[in-house]
């Protein structure tokens, strides 16, 4: 078990943001978290990452409680991509990715360089290498930040299986890059990484996730395979829109469509 959360509850300002949410993600799995705005997806991710300390419940990473890890060791086996980017200083894209290598033991410069270049290429940001981060568009920044967290856990470590937490990584990406991002998540999972990804698009979850959690109002509505969790009836009820399944000839799975 790479990432295990049990009975997570969290309240802020007298309002319950999350109630009794549990989550198990095995190494090699991509787990999608979905839910309407304000459902508690980001709170869940912040609890899983240890940015917030849960008021009830436990989080274990690679078999050890989060707070039992030293910050440095935890950073070597787990990378987190937050939703909001706050970098307002003019690093180049390559320098930003290099910041992701901070917890890693020093490698020879040419190897570091190779990892930085490979991470940027992987997210389709290779051509941005020497560009100033602050001059990039929202989608370009998102790809550079993704490259940064990939570079952080680029190679396997002896501490345990690696974990990748992504909070709405596709939010500012165009169609092609949304799919590229989730393809990368799958490729990292294939290397034994446990991936948790917050998504809004149920079709992306259906195409790329092994398991999914649907949250609403801070509670788990359903958990299991994306096909089972994201049923049209449930989506209609939770989101308050009319949802139907379209089945194209030759397609391996149905497509979730919202009636305008």
């Amino acid at each position: 078990m790479s990432l295990k959360a049990c009975g997570l509850s969290h309240a802020a300002g007298g309002r319950a943001l999350l109630r009794d949410v549990s989550l198990h993600v095995h190494s090699g799995e991509v787990h999608a978290v979905l839910g309407p705005n304000g459902a508690g997806k980001s709170t869940l991710l912040r609890l899983l990452s240890g940015e917030l300390r849960a008021q009830a419940g436990t989080v274990e990473c690679a078999g050890r409680a989060l707070h039992a890890w030293s910050p440095r060791e935890l950073a070597r086996l787990r990378a987190v991509l937050p939703q909001r980017d706050q970098l307002g200083f003019g690093f180049t894209a390559a320098e930003v990715v290099h910041l992701g290598r901070l917890p890693c033991p020093d490698l020879p410069p040419e190897q570091e360089r190779a990892i930085i270049d490979a991470a940027l290429e992987r997210t389709g940001a290779g051509h941005l290498r020497e560009r100033r981060y602050t001059s990039l568009s929202g989608g370009e920044r998102a790809r550079v930040q993704l490259a940064r967290v990939l570079a952080q856990i680029w190679n396997p470590v002896d501490l345990g299986p690696r974990t990748l937490l992504l909070d709405e990584p596709t939010a500012s990406l165009d169609l092609a890059h949304q799919h590229r991002c989730l393809r990368i998540a799958r490729e990292f999972a294939a290397q034994g990484v446990a991936v948790v990804v917050v998504l809004h698009d149920p079709n992306l979850a259906m195409s790329y996730a092994d398991t999914a959690t649907l949250l609403c109002c801070g509670e788990t509505i359903a958990q299991g395979t994306p096909q089972a969790v994201l049923s049209p009836e449930r989506l209609s009820r939770i989101y308050g829109v009319e949802v139907e399944l379209l089945r194209a000839t030759g397609a391996s799975r149905p497509y979730i469509a919202v009636r305008p």
Binding site: P82, R84, Q86, G88, T92, G100, L102, R131
Partner: protein, 346 residues
């Protein structure tokens, strides 16, 4: 494809130019003053043959008066610039100034109270005044930090606002004290408010140098963590940086640097704000290049300002803070106008 205009060119010649300028400025500062000393005589200290040789009076002027002052100016300039860069890194805002911690205001208020009210009679003012001022700065910074502690974490926005409020209170206190002060005390308070290295001697250097060097080196050792912090506090945490402990240590070091500098030379405006800005235009935001370059440029600028302050209207001496503010203010506005479209100004 045309070369990308935003690509950073890592140039080394500015370092060499800065070191060369620094050496020239040090020589010029040592030579100029009421007793003019020629370059060969200065060189004779290093074993160069000079004719006529340095006489006893010149030797005293050079080694016991000018040299300590030059060294202190270099250290203060470097420390203020690095403290400014460190402070801007901690709050992730290139417009932050170490003065925002309330250190300068608290130190100046304590010094003004000491001068005007004549507290601690019978104590030698030469050393008591810096000690009182240091304590005032440290207490003010402690108060600001305590007040900005929310749920055990230092909240940066609260920190800045509390510092602002404390600055206003301290300024009001100094104004009240000036109101009841006699002419002599008023002059002393003014000199303190705008800073001056006129009291800098061997005693001040021997106390101040270790403290300033400690702050300088310790801040520079945190360069990589500071880089990570620019990504955001949560991001730095996820990169294995103990953010709370980093913030506490950095703030303590900034307070040490600024309180020491105010205690020795009064408050010197703008060095902590403007030097990191100028340097970022050339090195970029990476603290591993930024901090050493800040040391060089801060030392150079403060030495030039001090030399100008004591020679321009000799034998009268200008407060050095007046000079740094006169030069720094317009320079800062110029930078804002030129680079204001880029939020990060670097």
């Amino acid at each position: 494809m045309p070369p990308d205009p935003t690509a950073r060119r890592h140039t080394r010649w500015p370092y060499a130019a800065l070191v060369l300028l620094l050496a020239t400025a040090i020589a010029a500062a040592l030579l100029s003053g009421p007793v003019t000393i020629s370059l060969p005589k200065l060189a004779s200290l290093a074993g160069w043959p000079a004719d006529p040789p340095l006489d006893g009076f010149e030797r005293i002027a050079l080694l016991q008066i000018r040299l300590p002052r030059v060294l202190l100016a270099l250290l203060l300039g470097a420390a203020l610039a690095v403290a400014g860069a460190g402070m801007q890194g901690i709050v992730r805002n290139p417009l932050a100034d170490p003065g925002l911690l309330g250190v300068s205001a608290g130190a100046a208020l304590a010094a003004a109270a000491f001068i005007v009210l004549g507290l601690g009679p019978g104590l030698p003012p030469a050393l008591t005044l810096p000690a009182v001022s240091f304590a005032g700065g440290a207490v003010a910074a402690w108060a600001v930090l305590r007040l900005s502690l929310v749920d055990g974490r230092t909240r940066v926005a609260t920190l800045l606002l509390t510092g602002l409020a404390l600055n206003a209170v301290a300024t009001a206190g100094i104004a009240l004290l000036s109101y009841v002060a006699d002419d002599y005390a008023l002059r002393a308070v003014t000199l303190w408010m705008f800073g001056s290295l006129s009291r800098a001697g061997l005693a001040e250097l021997s106390i101040g140098a270790p403290l300033l060097l400690l702050a300088l080196v310790a801040i520079a050792l945190h360069a990589r963590s500071l880089n990570a912090l620019l990504l955001g506090e949560a991001e730095a945490q996820h990169l294995g940086v103990d953010v709370e402990s980093l913030k506490r240590r950095m703030i303590a070091l900034v307070v040490l640097a600024v309180a020491t500098s105010v205690a020795l030379a009064g408050s010197i405006a703008f060095v902590g704000l403007i030097v990191p800005h100028l340097v970022r235009l050339w090195t970029g935001p990476d603290h591993r290049r930024l901090l050493p370059a800040c040391m060089l440029l801060g030392a150079l600028l403060l030495l030039l300002a001090d030399t100008a302050a004591r020679t321009l209207f000799a034998p009268a001496e200008l407060p050095i803070g007046v000079l740094t503010a006169l030069i720094g203010g317009p320079l800062f506005i110029g930078l804002l106008l030129r680079h204001g479209d880029r939020a990060e100004m670097a």
